[in-house]
Amino acid sequence: MKNQPHPTHTSFNSFRAALAVAVAGLALGLTGCGQAEPGGEAAAPADTEQVVNLYTQRHYELDQEIYDRFAEETGITVNVVKAGADQLIERLKAEGEDSPADLFLTVDIGRMARAQEAGLLQPSESEVLAAQVPAAHRGDQGDWYGITKRGRVIAYHKDRVSPEELSNYEDLADPKWKGRILVRSSSNLYNQALVASLIAEHGPEKVESWARGFVDNLARSPKGNDRDQMRAVAAGEGDLALVNTYYLGLLANGSPEDQAVAEQIGIFFPNQEDRGTHVNLSAAGITKSAQNKENAIRLLEFLTSEPIQEIYAESNYEYPVNPNVEAAGIVQSWGTFKEDDLGHDVIGQHEEEALKLADRVGWQ
């Protein structure tokens, strides 16, 4: 047995110091954030400072650089809240006409349809936007505009699968793929939109039996994100993965390990013989409550303008909506493809059924 020496420092003083810091912090925090808070008077149009308030689901670092550039060129500050599309929709609904948001930006066209259906958007007119965004990629009333496109494609391991074996989404339920397919959760919006497009084509009963076969073919229960699926393909957990196109672009330009993964993977555009590959849009709509509508339209015009569309294409490997802008080199190297031109409203209508169907067949 031995006695233990005891610390002799007076921690009461450190407690008081910490308390003082906290009080000061609270005061600073509240006032500091109060100033940055445009939810109150700052958002009013009468203010001398021009702003546009954005609720966005996009979570790319790149986006902030684009907003900063917009502010530099136009003097309009872009205020941003980032969260999931459905969370933002719920927030918009709760805030109603008092909502400070001017623009709502999603990465799933079905969600834009849901916002439209909930009466959260308002129509607009802009010749610039009409020229920059093809009619198929914007709402009829000009209540929303597409910004970028992404294809949901089959990523395959070049050594273990030959492209001749692949044909369409429907074929992925064939027993020949048993234990070879990787996909993320059915909660993911990209998967919901894809299944919704299948329901629109074949009806819910047929798609449910397809989904049973598809889930039987999974190499493991769904987890991780699109890049994880491709890494797992490279590691040999499976041979195919359903992914969005730009993720392979990001992988090919990522860390040395990811570049090694990307080299083993090929891209296949399904359903070229019939309706085309499923394409989803990242799109933005003007909210009904918008108090800075003109600034919102200017931001939309800016986002779909050629220089900015080039940034989306070259840095994030998305397909630009502006027809005058080309996709990035690596994206072009995968070839051109026929797009499924199913309307956004149709996808929106079937997304709920798509999710319930996934629940019934055990697609987590």
């Binding site: 610390p7 910490a18 906290a22 940055a36 808070e37 008092d98 493991r220 590691a235 993964v261």
Partner: protein
């Protein structure tokens, strides 16, 4: 006994305020869930409810048992035995608390998945060509979730039990030894029963955290109740069904609170006398090695390895990026967490002080109710908070307009005030737990003496309780602050424009699969968490150096 003395009645306002704050959002949810008819609910009940509930209970059970074993065993070893590295491990065992579950999940997913370095090395060593040629434990699984959550939560048990083992049970331990009982016998017959309230408190915290976790279970693909609530509300867009699911979660949480209450009932609330000297027995040879290894294991798995991996991933990301943006968010998060933590601690103190003052069944229940929010997932709370906040805003706007002619937009909702409110609902329970422990050690004789000397409740609080409770207050403030540092889902939904915390940045970058910058922010999260963890530790040290209350 519970007669109200004139002048104490006003204090009842505090528990009233606190219960109103906590109950309003929760009742909003329950009401919404009960009244709305919902097609989605039938779908849920038929296909998913059973899976969600069983998974939630399995996660809670697994995490509870692992945290119990890890937390109690390490606290006991460190408190009673001298072995190589003990002084270092005693501090280090708190460190995993600085890593949120979802960061731990991120690290272990990237480490252990088929494309991670561990399996790559495994393939290289075994000469395998692909992951399909051998069996390897799947990290994306229920056991995987239990592993990562236990590693980040067990320090709650450790932190709460260590002071109890170190000084509270020392006298009884010595008595047991002198009566001829050995280490094991003393542990089972004397120390564990004496530490029982602390153990139950610590394990309950872990259970609640595990029940409320969303990030790790969602990432690892384990469908629990929280995942179900998110999926139903956000993916199905069915708020009523989600509310009903949230009510079930609430019910389970309430049952846990009752169970905890029952478990603590009739138990001796710790030793009253503090022994100023802790006597540690020196271990030698293999036993010393075993003790050191056992305590080092959770430190390595929960601290050294994850932090090491984060550093390895973060270093390449530091090239060419300026620290200004990172520092701004760091400072902002620090202020928010420390400030909200202070509000929460003050409220918890006032609630518990009133309970002690009035000693009625009602105030005791109020204190229980205040802890309920801890078991409710952050996003659920954020919906519950948002609706009443907007109602208050609308009312204020109308008043300002009719009386003063002011035109304003929404005031509280979408402001930092909304965040502070959500944090209060969510984390008041944490502060309560820490303070209850302190109050249990504070003899009521003190209160009677103060009143006999003609002092009122305010003097009692300020001049007696505040100084004597400072360690517990510090612990309450720090535990709440750490939790706010890490809080993700409610912050995501309720934050104002252009407002990022370290947690939201980590999450966004992880979503974007930017492992480098995400690791950098995760490391800041760890660093932010380390400051309070360090202070917490020095307070515990202080605790065993000096009795909490004269008796």
């Amino acid at each position: 006994m519970s007669k109200l003395i004139q002048g104490r009645r006003l204090w009842l306002g505090w528990p009233l305020l606190a219960t109103a704050l906590v109950l309003t959002p929760l009742l909003t949810l329950v009401y919404g869930g009960l009244t709305a008819s919902s097609d989605g609910w039938n779908h849920l009940a038929e296909h998913l409810l059973w899976t969600y509930t069983v998974n939630s209970l399995l996660v809670a059970l697994g995490v509870g048992v692992s945290c119990l074993i890890l937390g109690v065993s390490t606290a006991w070893l460190v408190a009673h035995y001298e072995f190589p590295g003990r002084r270092w491990l005693q501090v280090a065992l708190v460190l995993p608390l600085a890593l949120p579950g979802y960061v731990m999940a991120l690290v272990y997913a990237n480490l252990l998945d088929s494309y991670g370095p561990v399996q790559q090395a495994f393939r290289w060593l075994g000469g395998y060509q692909s992951a399909s040629e051998y069996w390897f434990p799947q990290i994306f699984s229920l056991p995987g979730v239990i592993l990562v959550l236990s590693l980040s939560l067990f320090p709650y048990v450790y932190v709460i039990c260590r002071p109890v083992f170190t000084w509270q049970t020392q006298l009884y331990r010595d008595a047991s030894h002198s009566l001829g009982h050995g280490g094991w016998s003393t542990l089972w017959r004397v120390e564990l029963p004496l530490a029982y309230p602390a153990i139950v408190g610590g394990v309950s915290l872990c259970l609640f955290e595990a029940m409320a976790d969303y990030g790790s279970v969602a990432y690892y693909g384990v469908p629990t109740l929280t995942v179900g609530i998110y999926r139903t509300w956000f993916n199905l867009g069915d708020l009523p069904a989600a509310m009903r699911l949230a009510s079930i979660t609430l019910l389970v949480a309430f049952l846990l609170v009752l169970l905890e209450r029952l478990a603590r009932r009739g138990r001796y609330e710790g030793g009253l006398n503090a022994q100023p000297h802790a006597n540690r027995q020196s271990l030698r040879g293999a036993r010393a090695g075993l003790a050191a290894a056992w305590c080092a294991l959770p430190v390595f798995l929960g601290g050294v390895i994850p932090v090491g991996m984060l550093v390895a991933w973060a270093v390449p990301a530091t090239h060419g990026s300026s620290p200004a943006g990172y520092l701004a968010i760091f400072g902002q998060t620090l202020l928010l967490a420390a400030g909200s933590g202070l509000v929460i601690t003050a409220l918890a103190l006032l609630v518990l002080f009133t309970n002690r003052l009035v000693r009625s069944r009602w105030t005791a229940t109020a204190a229980r109710i205040c802890s309920l929010g801890y078991a409710v997932p952050g996003t659920v709370i954020s919906v519950g908070v948002l609706a009443p906040l907007i109602a208050v805003d609308r009312w204020t706007i109308a008043q300002l307009n009719s009386w003063l002619g002011w035109e304003t937009g929404l005031l509280l909702s979408g402001s930092v005030a909304g965040l502070v409110l959500a944090y209060t609902v969510r984390f008041l329970g944490v502060a309560n737990y820490a303070l209850e422990g302190g109050y249990a050690r504070l003899s009521r004789v003190l209160d009677e003496t103060a009143f006999t000397l003609g002092r009122g409740p305010r003097d009692l609080l300020r001049r007696v309780h505040l100084p004597l409770l400072r360690s517990s207050l510090g612990a309450a403030w720090l535990l709440a602050s750490i939790d706010i540092f890490k809080e993700l889902p409610a912050t995501l939904v309720l934050r104002p424009f252009n407002f990022d915390t370290v947690a939201t940045k980590t999450f966004e970058l992880a979503l974007e699969e930017q492992l480098g910058p995400a690791s950098l922010y995760a490391l800041m999260l760890v660093a932010l968490g380390l400051i309070p963890v360090y202070l917490l530790n020095s307070w515990i040290e202080k605790n065993h150096a000096r009795p909490a209350a004269p008796s």
